[in-house]
């Protein structure tokens, strides 16, 4: 046992100066108490209803993985279709999502871990339609981890010394235990998380197979959680193998049945990506043609399912499924 010596002075050595989402663990707890459904009642609904009810203008939005890799693309399309405004995006581990949402007029602030910078982003920055705050991928997921633990901040071993630090909500303090300098980052409790799972029951118990970015952290850290799932399974199936549950129902507000919901990306173990679709979205962004992309793939359709039927077609979807031959590990 270490006896306390003279009390250490806790000092802030350096502070980032950028705006960050307000940290309020008790406010978050109160939100959970007042809004989350503890009963095992169905949360199954359409993407349209989920976005109408749970995504509001001005919300801080986190999406999991990205448009190319197990992204919640049905829900992202619906956010664009409904024309949500002034969202603040957690732009981590991202190629195209931020550029799509910015050019669609939905996102006006972004925390940057990584997202493809491209003409739509450059224009939005120049025209003052987008503000960016600097983090890194792991710093963003550690902020979500702090949010998922119900604590106000987390000490981290990276990010100190960078210019990103100065343009963030991080602080460098003296560690009260070792006396050494340590970076702390503000917990992130997004207003809404959208996550695509392999399986879920109607209550929201969700299974995600394979690797990921921060699915569980985002689900637990966010005030409102929309799970889209390739398959809706019986709760008896969830109970058969509880160790396979990634996200527990009481964190979840909406469950959307979303087969091929990651199109044109892959849902690992279920279907491979559509390389043509992947190139098309890249091309649209790099050549500043996002509006024609939205007009082709999103705006004309009532639902994602209608887009899949009319724009992609069954043969292509079946081919994507057939091409996904590495299936070991993608079941419970």
């Amino acid at each position: 046992m270490t006896a306390p010596s003279a009390p250490r002075k806790l000092s802030i050595l350096r502070e980032g100066t950028s705006q960050y989402l307000a940290v309020d663990p008790d406010g978050f707890r109160a939100h959970i108490r007042d809004n989350k459904q503890r009963a095992l009642k169905s949360r199954l609904m359409t993407a349209k209803e989920a976005v109408e009810r749970f995504v509001s203008d001005g919300d801080y939005l986190t999406y999991e993985c990205n448009y190319l890799m197990r992204g919640p693309n049905e829900v992202v399309h619906e956010i664009i279709r409904q024309g949500k405004k002034r969202l603040w995006a957690a732009g981590k581990f991202t190629y195209v999502d931020v550029a799509l949402l910015v050019d669609a007029g939905c996102v006006s602030r972004a925390d940057c871990g990584f997202f493809l910078s491209a003409p739509p982003i450059d224009r939005a920055l120049k025209e003052g339609r987008l503000e960016v705050f600097e983090y890194s991928n792991v710093i963003m997921t550690l902020r979500l981890q702090a949010g998922a633990m119900g604590v106000p901040f987390l000490p981290v071993r990276s990010f100190g010394g960078t210019d990103g630090f100065d343009h963030s909500g991080a602080k460098l303090i003296t560690d009260p235990y070792t006396g050494d300098p340590i970076t702390i980052v503000p917990a992130l409790n997004p207003d809404v998380a959208v996550i695509h799972a392999h399986q879920a029951d109607v209550f929201g118990n969700a299974r995600i197979f394979g690797t990921g970015v921060s699915d569980v952290e985002s689900a637990l850290a966010s005030k409102k959680v929309i799970i889209s799932a390739e398959e809706i399974v019986e709760t008896a199936e969830i109970r058969r193998n509880p160790g396979a549950t990634s996200i527990p129902y009481y964190a979840v507000d909406a469950v959307v049945h979303s087969p091929y919901g990651s199109y044109p990306g892959t849902c690992p173990g279920y279907y491979g990506s559509d390389p043509e679709g992947v190139f098309e979205v890249f091309r649209a962004i790099m050549s500043d043609q996002v509006q024609p992309y939205l007009d082709k793939w999103i705006r004309p359709f009532e639902t994602f399912e209608q887009m899949l039927d009319e724009r992609v077609g069954k043969p292509k979807l079946e081919a994507m499924r057939a091409r996904e031959t590495a299936r070991e590990g993608y079941s419970a």
């Binding site: 600097e134 100190g160 960078t162 990921g212």
Partner: protein
Amino acid sequence: MTRAEAFSEREVARSTVAHLIEDGRTYWAAGGGTPLYAVLLGQKLYAPDAQYVTEDGVISPEPLLPFEPMMTMVASRAVHHALQWGTMNSAGVHAQLGHMDYGVLNTLQVDQHGNINSTFLGEYGGSGRRFGGPGGADTIAACCWRTILITDQDRRKFVKQVDFISSPGFLDGTPGARERAGLPRDTGPWRVVTPWAMYDYSERRLRLIARVPWVSVEEILAECEWKPLVASEVQVLEPPTEEELQLLRTELDVRGQTTDAAGGWITWDGEQYVRA
């Protein structure tokens, strides 16, 4: 192994890094392009017991090659037969714990102290150009014991001071600067590899230690905005082998996205290598 007779400059850098990969070490490859291909090249040809992780927390996969376009993480072929499937936080935390021997990164701009810019060229917030941001590289550069950086040999990329530190090198170059910023002890930049040259660090400053046969030290120094230290003996690197190029072109960078002809091609004219 057969010396190759025609290859692109960027293929040379992949080959040089492949020779740095060691058995029995862990590598965290940043993103899913160049660093991953370089590690896989080394692992498949020279160091079968080298292990790697990527940002999605996959540990030591046996990927099914070639990858589908852009699908070098998360996708089933990329994470196939791993020892563990994790998350970005598991990868980050394992690095914080000291499990990652080497980080392998590529970047837009590097400076004399090994600081890395992948965020902004020009004065931040001004009329310059924004890039993608650090991604996983900040944590790799902070927490892996040693980092290997891949970039092009170009005055605009080899600068005295980067416009924006996205990922930390030796910061201002003074002793203990990383520790004062809260970074783990005894970590930092180790090598920089370009299509023309390899550098290490002496007293936390870049030092030229090797060159390819077809480029002189003077030509290399002309493509640095400031003058790096030069080792008393600059080694001459081996050119790529046919085996390396075969693997790179048919299984790794099949579409030539990271090894394209940028910076030109090198050919053997019967007596020596020449830049096209």
